[in-house]
């Protein structure tokens, strides 16, 4: 495979993965959880690196996943025991986990060794460095997410729209929410090395918001959102290959943001343009 094809395929898979999960974050008004999880992944990535002693993708992914779940658990703890508002609880965990990550990163850098090379690309993303093995991993993750969505579709749908009703029905709401957090954390970690810690949150939210303007119903929304995510991924990768200095991550995010703007303005019925006219 040519490098460009690899990158385009990888960003398409990532876009589809994030796009398929996005609706669950957006509909539950948990969009910024993605922001928290992506920042909280940093210490996990560092610890994964320290344990494996090399830039081994499975170790970094596992570390990031565990850190993300701990972060989500700590937010619940703060909310359960104090009257601190949810946004403050998220901000506390986001910033202190990131601080821990920065401290660990500096420790790794000070202890030297060539092995740490490429670790910072995890932070800021470097799509061009994507390898065929990364694409394989992304396909496996996409298949896993697809399987999970299909298996628990009904409960996930209930949780997305009315968690209190789902609880009253005796459905496993907490388990579904943890499952969503875990899958989202995996998708975010997979995306970190492509678009970086800050831009990953947009990749999760933008396709879902855009898709919501065009369709009703969860299934069409998830499908369209995955499609739009993949489209933004591919076109971002292709556009960024046209000029030096056009980093892939930011271009993908700008394309996705453009899709949102178009959708909010021009989508049939919900579009603002039709309202005003």
């Amino acid at each position: 495979m040519s490098p460009l094809l690899t990158v385009a395929l990888g960003t398409a898979l990532l876009g589809a993965l994030a796009g398929a999960l996005g609706p669950f974050a957006v509909l539950r008004k948990q969009s910024l959880m993605g922001d928290v999880l992506s920042h909280a992944a940093l210490p996990g990535i560092c610890i994964g690196f320290l344990v494996a002693q090399e830039r081994s993708l499975p170790a970094l992914l596992a570390g990031a996943l565990i850190a993300g779940l701990i972060a989500a658990g700590l937010i619940q703890l703060i909310l359960r025991f104090t009257r601190i508002k949810p946004d403050a609880a998220m901000g506390i965990i986001l910033s202190t986990f990131f601080a821990l990550g920065v401290v660990l990163l500096s420790h790794i850098q000070h202890s030297g060794g060539a092995a740490q090379a490429g670790l910072s690309s995890f932070l800021f993303g470097q799509a061009a460095a994507m390898l065929a093995s990364d694409v394989t991993l992304l396909s496996a993750l996409a298949a896993l997410v697809l399987l999970i969505l299909a298996t628990f579709w009904k409960d996930l749908k209930l949780v997305a729209f009315d968690r209190d009703y789902a609880r009253a029905l005796g459905r496993p709401v907490a388990a579904m929410e943890s499952l969503l957090a875990a899958v989202t954390a995996i998708a975010i970690v997979a995306g970190l090395q492509v678009v970086g810690v800050v831009l990953m949150v947009a990749l999760l939210i933008a396709p879902a918001v855009a898709a919501r303007q065009w369709v009703e119903g969860l299934l069409p929304m998830v499908l369209l959102s995955a499609l739009l995510g993949a489209g933004a991924g591919v076109s971002g990768a292709l556009l960024s290959s046209t000029a030096r200095g056009l980093a892939t991550g930011p271009v993908i995010v700008l394309v996705a943001a453009g899709l949102v703007l178009l959708s909010i303005l021009f989508a049939p019925r919900r579009g603002l343009v039709w309202r005003r006219a």
Partner: protein, 392 residues
């Protein structure tokens, strides 16, 4: 004095203290208002402001750059509110869309046009407090670090703003509708607060980076919030906790040879964790103890009510024996032990051989409980008044 300003460690600490002070002051109001994550959004979006200002004017530092970045911060707030008002998406999604987009645009501008100057995303996100003492301006014969100068200005501005607009800010945070009725323009003071926060973020990010600045804005105020009910005390405590974190962070970073800015921010988290676990009244330990105490008090009341309802009955010897509680109240032995001990301590019951007998106080509590629940319980057949036996 000259020696003081030439000492790198002293300058690093001073910078950290000033960041902590300047961040905690507006932070308290942002945390109370529920706008904590707006700080996160602003601190990322200023990258766009910095890049655009550089493109338009060529300034990479100084007042013009700070003004440009502050404008970008305000733009972020306004864009998020405008998007939310279209009612096509929720506030959290709007926030999660706007700041990465502005950040992406800023990064692209930097990548495309500013490759050769000192402006890269690593520095913006992470900062490097260890080098603040290298970049100085000569004032009154002393080389004072630029970060110290700008942060002193913003700490003073933030303090002045908060003192000057204390009442409108307080009302805008706790009761914006009432503030609007009073003609206090809550939108305007909050706008000022966001603008000052953005400008402070620009001044601070050279030192600690955008995300670690967020830690100083959110975490010390949230910690102080766990420790007090008074706004004035909270603001003071937050500033002190932030500065304590800067001091402890620098010491720990020097000892462990790790990032100083990261360690300072991590220390705010350590203080928060301490308060979360141990804060009097609102901490986890205090909450667990209070819940246990409430459960025990309720169980005591149940015990007293049980004893009271059988005290005048025919089978009092059987019902009110300690050994009967296990089967009658369905409590495990441990629970019985704890409850009876508590009831004895509180002077609600006393032991008479195998029997538990209510004291005056216990009987009063029993009567009160029965009276308070009586209207809620439908009468049972055996509770109906029996016809008086015919007179002999």
């Amino acid at each position: 004095m000259t020696a003081f300003f030439a000492n790198p460690d002293a300058m690093i600490l001073l910078t950290g203290l000033l960041v902590a002070l300047a961040a905690a002051l507006p932070g308290c109001f942002l945390v109370l208002r529920g706008s904590s994550l707006m700080t996160d959004a602003i601190s990322h979006a200023i990258v766009f402001g910095i890049a655009l200002t550089w493109l338009a004017t060529g300034y990479i530092s100084g007042p013009i750059q700070i003004a440009g970045a502050a404008a970008a911060g305000l733009l972020t707030v306004l864009l998020i509110e405008a998007l939310t008002r279209t009612r096509r998406l929720n506030n959290d999604a709007a926030m999660g869309l706007v700041f990465p987009t502005l950040f992406a645009a800023g990064v692209l501008i930097i990548n495309l046009y500013a490759r050769d100057i000192h402006l890269d995303t690593d520095t913006v996100l992470l900062g490097e407090i260890a080098f603040v003492w290298l970049d100085t301006t000569r004032i009154a014969g002393m080389d004072i670090p630029n970060a110290v100068i700008s942060l002193t200005v913003f700490a003073a501005l933030n303090l002045g703003f908060i003192l000057l607009f204390w009442k409108p800010l307080k009302l805008a945070v706790f009761d914006p509708d009432f503030a609007a009725l009073q003609g206090l323009r809550p939108g305007l003071v909050l706008g000022g607060l966001f603008a000052l926060t953005s400008a402070t973020a620009v001044a601070a990010f050279d030192a600690v980076g955008a995300i670690l600045f967020v830690a100083f804005v959110i975490v010390p105020p949230a910690t102080a919030y766990l420790l007090t009910q008074s706004l004035a005390v909270m603001v003071t405590l937050a500033a002190l906790i932030g500065m304590g974190s800067a001091l402890a962070g620098q010491q720990a970073a020097l000892a462990l040879d790790v990032s100083i800015g990261g360690m300072m921010a991590l220390m705010t988290g350590a203080f928060f964790a301490l308060a979360l676990v141990a804060a009097p009244g609102k901490g986890v330990i205090a909450t667990l103890l209070r819940r246990r105490n409430d459960r025990l008090a309720f169980a005591c009341r149940t015990l007293v009510t049980h004893l009271h309802s059988h005290a005048a009955g025919p089978r009092v010897d059987e019902e009110n024996a300690i050994t009967a509680l296990e089967s009658h109240l369905r409590w495990p032995r441990r629970q019985i032990r704890n409850v009876v001990l508590r009831a004895l301590d509180d002077g609600l019951v006393r032991r008479e051989g195998a029997m538990l007998v209510l004291t005056e106080m216990g009987a009063a509590l029993g009567r009160e409980t029965v009276a308070s629940v009586a209207p809620l319980i439908p009468p049972r057949p055996q509770d109906q008044p029996q016809p008086a036996p015919p007179a002999a």
